[in-house]
C-alpha cells in the first residue's frame, strides 16, 4: 500500500487536519502589535533628541505591505487616534497622516502590483521619511535648521530598521495563522 507523505499533513502553520487558526489571534495580532509599538518608544527609551523611528507607523506600513487586505483603508484613523494620545504630537496629526498614508499606499499598490522586497523597502522608506518630516511640520514646534538636522538620524535609523520590522511582522504573521483551534 502506498503511504501518504506524513509531512503533507503539516505546513508552517501546524497540522492541517482537525485544526484551524484562532479567530482571536487572526484579528488581534496586527492591531495589538501596532498599539504596543505606539507605547514602546514612550516608556523604554528617553532621550534629549528624537532619534527613535516612528515604530507604530512603520509597523502599520509593514503589515499593510506584507499582508495586504487584513486592514481596511480606514484603519489609519482609529490607530492614529491611539497614537495621538501618547506621541506628544498635537492631537489629530497621526489620524490625518496615517489615513493619508493608507490611501496613498492603496493607490501605489494598484499602480505597481508586482513588486520585490527592495521595492517595498523603498516605498516604506519614502513614506516614513515623508511622515517624519510632515509630523515635524505639524508638531507645533519651531522649525529651525537645528531641528531639521536633528531629524536626519531618525530618518536614517527608520530606513535601516525596516527589514527588521518586516521580519518581525512575518514572524507575527506566522503566529497569527498558526492553527491552535481544534475543529471537532
Amino acid at each position: 500500500m502506498e503511504r501518504v507523505n506524513p509531512q503533507s499533513r503539516r505546513d508552517a502553520y501546524g497540522s492541517r487536519i482537525n485544526r484551524a487558526p484562532s479567530p482571536v489571534l487572526v484579528f488581534a495580532v496586527p492591531i495589538v502589535s501596532i498599539l504596543l509599538c505606539t507605547l514602546l518608544p514612550l516608556f523604554f527609551i528617553t532621550s534629549a533628541v528624537p532619534y527613535v523611528p516612528p515604530l507604530a507607523f512603520m509597523m502599520l506600513m509593514a503589515w499593510r505591505i506584507i499582508r495586504p487586505g487584513i486592514f481596511p483603508v480606514w484603519i489609519g484613523f482609529p490607530l492614529g487616534l491611539f497614537d495621538d494620545l501618547f506621541s506628544g504630537q498635537p492631537f489629530g496629526s497621526a489620524m490625518l497622516l496615517w489615513s493619508l498614508a493608507m490611501i496613498a499606499i492603496d493607490i501605489i499598490e494598484a499602480r505597481f502590483p508586482w513588486r520585490s522586497f527592495v521595492q517595498d523597502w523603498l516605498t516604506v522608506a519614502g513614506f516614513t521619511t515623508l511622515y517624519i518630516v510632515a509630523a515635524a511640520i505639524v508638531s507645533g514646534g519651531e522649525l529651525g535648521a537645528p531641528m531639521v538636522i536633528a531629524l536626519l538620524p531618525q530618518i536614517v535609523l527608520a530606513i535601516v530598521l525596516f527589514p527588521v520590522i518586516a521580519r518581525l511582522v512575518a514572524r507575527l504573521d506566522r503566529l497569527r495563522l498558526t492553527r491552535f483551534r481544534e475543529v471537532r
Partner: protein, 298 residues
Amino acid sequence: MAPNSARRSSSSRRAQYSVFTGYVLATIGAVVGAGLLGLSLISPEAFSGPREIANDVASPAGEVSARARTNGKGLLDSISGYFRAGSQNAQLKKEVELARIRLAEAKATEAENARLKALLGLTEAEVKPVVVTRLIASTSTSARRFGYIGAGRAEGVQVGMPVRSERGVIGRVLEVGSATSRVLLLTDSQSVLPVRLASTKRRASAFAEGRGDGRIQIRLINLGINPLRKGDVLVTSGAGGYYRPGTAVAIVSEVTSDGAIARPISDPAATNFVSVEPIWQPEAISAAATPVDESIAE
C-alpha cells in the same frame, strides 16, 4: 507576488460597495484628523482630557520601565554598564560632574547672597518640594520634547510648576492629570527659560531656548561683548517668577556671536527621580497675567 488587493474587488456589487465605503471612511478619517489637528494647533490645551486619561491608564507600565531604565543612562551607557569597570567609571564621572554642578550652584548662591545683603539682608529658606516622583516616560519619536511624571492633581501638582532632578532643571508642568502630568522639557523648541551666568566675576542675563535637537540656544539680553565662555554654567535667574533662582540649567558648549549654544545639565534619559517645586513667585505670575488697566490687589 502580486497582492490580492482589496481595490481589485470583483464583479460583486456588495464587494464593490464595501471597497468604496472604505475609501469614503478613510477620507472622512483624514478630514476629521486634519480638523482636530488644526484645532489643537490653535489651542494646544484642547484635547488634554483624553490624553491625561490615557496616560493615567498607561502609567503603571511607565513606573516599571523607569525602574529598569535607570540602570544606565541612555542606550550607549547601558551597553557600557555591562562591563563593571565601565559602569564604575561612569558613576565616578557622574559624581564629579555633580560636584562641579554643586560648586557652580554654590557660587551662584554666594553671588545671590551678596546681592541680597546689599539690598535688604533678605535670606531665603530652602523650598520644600510639592512632590518627589519618577519621570515615567518621554516622547522619543515626536519632534516635540515632552516628559511624563508619575504625580498629578492628587499630589497637588499644578500647571506651571518647575520640575527638577538632583542635577538641575528638567522643565515645567504643562498639563496635569489625576495621577500623571505632562512636562515641557527644557530642550523643546517652545521652551524659554530666563537664566544668568553662575559666576561671581562676570554678569550675564539671558534666555535659554530649546533648539529641538537636544541643545539649548542661549540668547543674551544685553548685547555687547559676549561674556560667555566655553564650560560656563548657567543657572535660573528667577525672572518671570516660575523658577527659583540658582538652579543649574545648562553648560555652555559653543560660544556664538549673540550668545551661546549650551547642553542641558539634566538629561531626561539619565533622570529617574524628579521633584516638583512650587511656583517661586505666584504673585508675580498672576500680576503678569492681569491686564495693565486692572488693579492687582482686590
